[in-house]
Symmetry: D4
Subunit: 191 residues, 8 copies
């Protein structure tokens, strides 16, 4: 059973955001989905500037075969809650913002959704975008063993990566480790 | 020129809220509008449970003759921002909540609306509901001198009320004043 | 196709919490799951007092047939993040607390999970417990059309309930509506 | 019917702020008003350093033909609340600040105005300055169909702008889109 | 040298507040001033409802012989900052509020006063009202040795009071001490 | 080796607080220490009202044989940081408060201690008081195997208690469990 | 009557701070005091690293002729509350910090001082340092008409400065004004 | 009695963190421990990516001779609370973060640990890392007089350092002192 189903043609995950200024962050959902070979689409749909389109996106989600919607939104962050009432597809919110105030607003706008219309908050900014994608894989893994296996391998790799770092610090000592890190970064920047 | 135009038949101000549990607070908008004899309506319209109705309410606002919409909302508080994109009628938000967290969320959801779709926040809970009504009068006063005059008289009365209290404290002393206040309250409760 | 599969025998949703003092709130997940006839279990498992059991719960989740884990936690709220690394089953967090400080801590402990280990925050206290259950149904609906249909009917009923209230306020006026509400509540309490 | 009435000669909107250091942000109110050809004035009036002038500004607002006052203020942010008691002209507050603490203070100073003296908070910093101007247009549109039409056209244009971006991402893919964005920005900066 | 100068006839400290609902708290300034036999007055003056009176209060403060003004204010809390620009008499702010939000707003409105117009925040609610009075005594003690002596005696008495409690707990043990405290409180309430 | 060394005669843990109003909470440190048979003392020592005594308490701590100082403090919460500079004995802070504002202040006053003078924050209110005592046992267990053993037994008992509750809910079902809890509580209150 | 009394020889205002890293901010108190020709001293005294010196500073303040103490402190910010119990001289706190967290902590540590030991918070960072100095002048003006006169002149000058800016914007228009501001700043930097 | 016991061979303090990105901050614990010649180890152990290792680290701590564990963690910050249930060795938490939100989350995740599992919060970022090390010395000093003596000497040196700065400012004046500081910094940077 292959996970490849033609990218962005028959997307099963929709990554949406209210503005193209959110794309820099929200691309991390797409990158992760791509890594897991999940067919997905990336869309700019504003709850406030293109409200009809947001309504339509929700209404057609089931019919279009979407199985998860990841909605990134900042500030008043209505997008996830705008789309969710129109579909039974799970909608995961990602709170975006570059000031404490706008992040808090986005979190509150998502995690205080009223009883009856769930929009789980997958996290904040890049970390949230990545974790929203990973949560999608967890959901898709219920449907498709290929994703289940891929996810478990991903977990294994994460552990190994941390182990390797711990090992390196133990062997080199933390001072050499930090110096090497700085050298690597300098090389990358002068790159 | 009379302000009386048949209440709730040709409303010029719409007082809307997402749930009938908000009515206890939001009635204070209506009570104030009634005091100023402003034709108004009180509606329960949920951004998340009756989203189509919210869209329709915005879309028909101009046609129905509304001149201000007061939208009370708590928690994720999307209602004002749900309606505003569909109309050019001024929409005033009132943030509702009974926990610090839900109030903060409601404030953030309103005062962080994106550039292009204004929803001024008239205030919080009862104070906000009253001030949203008063702001409506300020707006209507631009159109109708009867409201302008009534508003100025209201301001005058507020000042006189405060003056009377200051006078009473000066004459009685604050101790007697406080004792009298407590007696009055006890009488009211045993009422 | 029937949804009835023998309650709590072959649970597909696990509702877990760190202390029996969380049960008063977390029962609302169970009540909602029951309403949708989703086989589920309710467990008290502490991340800090019975850490091995929490590890085991995560580790055996797939094998035991769980498809969603709802983890309610307050204060430091480590439970969802304690279980999630041991399973690929979606884990939904519910932040619990009875002070602003403890709620904020619980939210932060969940929505700031590190990149790689997603634990979406379904919401706060009772609202969160209910919405975590509803999100579970949305996920299960991807697997089972019976849940899909039931969910859509639920959405329809919510809308009708709000409509009925709006209608009642329009007909009775808000003053009579509020008076009736108060009478009903008094009857219930003296009941 | 023309909107042109001689700029800053017979202003209908007053844009005021407490310090010329607020001008960098508050100019965005003026720029938007200019775009809509609304006669307006820009003034530096301090609630604390030129208190008498602030009083006078409020007192003469009706007589001078002002129909909306936009007051930007940071920190203790008393200016909107300083002017509002002296006039029945709608006063919209814009909260300014460059630290979380000073922004929070400004928001609180505006959205906690006492019952009886409404000062709706139009938003925060640049976003707030723009939205205060747009809210002014919504109010003026009640008086003048030219503004009503212009506002509706503005809403239409915003939607088209978002649509164009969504289209571009769909066609180019988000990676090319982001790369192009970065190139454009680099060109602008080296420009 | 006697401190008695005829109470409230030639007040040297003015205790002002925006509403008589603040009196329950602000009386604690007056009670403390009375204990130190400082001539003082208690006034209700609203920054927003009786703005002219607030201006006049500031303007005449020096002439009337006031040496400290204690201004209690809640929510937007503009009163101290309303009065301070009109006088060189030290103005001490007391932040009032019965919700976290309104207290935060009051604090921010006072402690973020702009450079040039100082309004030190003496504290919050009852504790603030008492400490504002004590700070007044510290200031008056610079002018009058009678207050200096009285203040030093007060400090001594506070220390002795704490010492006595520590002693009692050491002798009785904390369990008996707590039991006695509860008994005393019960007696007072049934009193 | 016995842990019994004559209570409050040769205390090894000092439980101090700034006011006897903190005793209701801080007694929970003492109760826990007593359960583990740790010699301890309970003292009221104010950083601000009996500052010299606080200095002396710190200065004599080593000489008096104290091995841990638990300092509970609310609001400005200076007590732990008042004592710590005068001794090398570990000082654990407990943040006390009954409003969000006063708790936040107490936390900040402790966890922001400057580099060089550590005062770890053991937690907030009752939970903090208990955990400060338990942390003391962890420290004492480094010195005395009796405490080490007792602590490990305590951990075991905690786990068993949680297990028992989980078992009860599994057997009775959560509904019966909750009903029984309520009955037990009612009995206790009518008790 | 001359204000000149030999700087830093017989200081009447003490400007103290816990670390020389606070000097960059706290110098603004000294600069303002110098402008008003108030004899003052600048000292680094740590509540936690040189606690005995802090005690001594408080104890000798009256004897040394100090009439106001300005204490700047960041983070746990105990310095003002460390000194205040040892003297009846008014102590004004200035909250310092370069992160939201450390500023909040400093504010809380000062504005939550217990009943009985007042330390008014003069403000935050530079603004607070300046306003603490100005509040000192207000206090000193009660003792010395030279300061009274100087303060009133200062208030007058502030007003004129704001007036001049308002005038310039009215004449040039805000666009030219902003351009000129930017040019001036560029000149200063390349200067 | 010598403190030297072979570094990192028989560590008595374990400095652990969830990611090597925390090392830049957490090295300050190690640097301080090294200064006091405390045998210690530095490890990267993730509560979420290498959960089994975290469990094992806790479980073997006593056996391996650890006497204090310093656990630095950011965001959801579960590491200290992950390890603590598996050991009776004192665990000190250090809250890490580079945004207000992530720091608040880390603080809450640590200081809200449930009753029964203490994890004192040693502080935030660098300051916290240093103070966690110093608290470790305070604990080790109970066991080993060499550490006790070294700690007291450290306290003495800190005081002298502050004294020297105060002296320098008194002699040079603050202006020269600040100028010299800037020169020194410029020299260091051009280095």
């Amino acid at each position: 059973m292959s996970r490849k189903r033609g990218f962005e043609q028959n997307p099963v995950v929709g990554v949406i955001m209210g503005s193209d200024s959110d794309l820099e962050i929200m691309q991390h959902s797409a990158i992760k989905l791509e890594k897991f070979e999940v067919p997905h689409e990336v869309r700019v749909i504003s709850a406030h500037r293109t409200p009809d389109k947001a309504v339509k996106y929700g209404r057609t989600a089931v019919r279009r075969g979407l199985q998860v919607i990841i909605a990134g939104a900042g500030g008043s962050a209505h997008l996830p809650g705008k789309v969710a009432p129109y579909t039974r597809v799970p909608v995961l919110g990602v709170a975006l913002g570059n000031t404490p105030k706008s992040i808090e607003a986005a979190i509150g706008s998502i995690d205080e959704m009223p009883e009856g219309v769930p929009v789980p908050l997958a996290g904040i900014n890049k970390k949230g975008a990545v974790n929203a994608a990973l949560e999608s894989i967890r959901i898709l893994a219920l449907l498709n063993p290929v994703y289940a296996e891929a996810y478990e391998q991903f977990v294994q790799e994460m552990a190994e990566e941390v182990e390797a770092k711990d090992e390196a610090i133990r062997i080199k000592g933390y001072k050499v480790y930090l110096r090497d890190q700085r050298l690597t970064e300098e090389l990358k920047q002068s790159g």
